[in-house]
Amino acid sequence: MTSFSYPDGKYILSESSITVLSGANALLHLQKLITSKVEDSDLYRTHDSLFCHANGRIIDYLKIYNFGEKILITNNNKNGNSIRKLIQTGIPWNEEMTITNGDNGICHYRLIGNIIDTILKQCGINKESIVNNKFTEYGNMILTISSGKNYQILDILIPSDEEDKVLKIFKNNNIKNMEASEWDKIRINLGIVDYFDIENSIPFEVNMEHLVKLDKGCYPGQEIHARIESRGKINKKLVKITTNLPLKKSKYSILRGGKIVIKSSFEQNENNVHLGVIPIKYIEDSIIITKDDIKFEIQQI
């Protein structure tokens, strides 16, 4: 029995770092540092992408908002300054580019639940304008929808000195704030991957292959990604796991060989849910038994 049900509406203040780039070639410059192709991006488009180390492992997940003359980037706040430094260091001597720290200037709220459609109707926003990697402006807010096969998240960026406006919308619709632990419960149950699930992993092993474009030219980590891809050496996958025991974030040896690495966990009565990486050879199995005789129920995400 699972004790999870999709929420009507819950919000969280996301731990995002905000950076704004301006300059004629800002998008092209950024593209040299990330895994995906953005140079042909249209106005009011969003792009998800990754910063990687030269060893191919993920430094951070970013979302790019294309405002034309300016580009806004959200990424994990743990990496805000290091990512800004990374972007600045490689600016060519003959290019004008400005990098601005918006960490204290913009708040990033995430709203999940059935109420999203109601909120959009109240604001007079056509949902079509903010799905499929598009965003729209509503006053000084920026709205976009991130979605998966069983969820929708409304991402809201708003100037910090105006956040009472979005909080008022939440209050008027009886949408409650959620603590990080409740967000973990929701996202793990729905298979929503967070920064901590993918940090320092190879993109292919944590279901991020859709963000890696090997035909767009070099970027840090590209040589490793190309080698893995061309040799068919993708041998791990991120999955949702259910166990009847609570588990620590750790490695667990599988009876038939290999290891399961638990990345995120939420204790939920007898149905503890986790996101973890398993050897791809077990991907079609519904149950994996470990050497400690723990039964892992596997569900692809």
Partner: protein
């Protein structure tokens, strides 16, 4: 006032740049190739060696023969009458490089060896 112009934004990010007095080594074959490439324009033109984002290892080398920018943010190194310029912002990344020239059909041309690089891409154009 729009989202990107509100209060709370900091001034543009400024990470202090380490400036080093650059020393480079130019092999005889690179000296000869540079002279040829300058095409007797070495009075008015210079060779700029720079580093920018890109490549598999994080940074890419770039070399350009261009009109002398006469800009004191560059360091100037004279090699047999040819001026090589390196921008102060790239000085820490490019100090100590060896500029070589290989006269081969496959993989030939100017090449840079960088003892300060922790890693280099297989193609030799990227370092980090």
């Amino acid at each position: 006032m729009g989202l990107l112009d509100g209060a709370g934004f900091s001034l543009p990010v400024f990470n202090e740049i380490e400036i080093i007095d650059v020393k480079i080594n130019v092999t005889d074959s690179a000296r000869n190739a540079m002279k040829l490439s300058m095409n007797n324009d070495d009075d008015t033109h210079v060779l700029i060696i720079s580093a920018e984002s890109g490549g598999c290892s994080g940074y890419l080398y770039d070399m350009k023969i261009t009109e002398d920018p006469k800009d004191d943010t560059f360091q100037r190194i004279d090699v047999d009458g040819v001026s090589i310029l390196i921008h102060n912002k790239d000085s820490a990344l490019l100090n100590g490089i060896e500029l070589d020239y290989k006269d081969t059909l496959m993989g030939g041309g100017f090449q840079i060896k960088n003892p300060s690089a922790d890693r280099e891409c297989g193609c030799g154009q990227s370092f980090g």
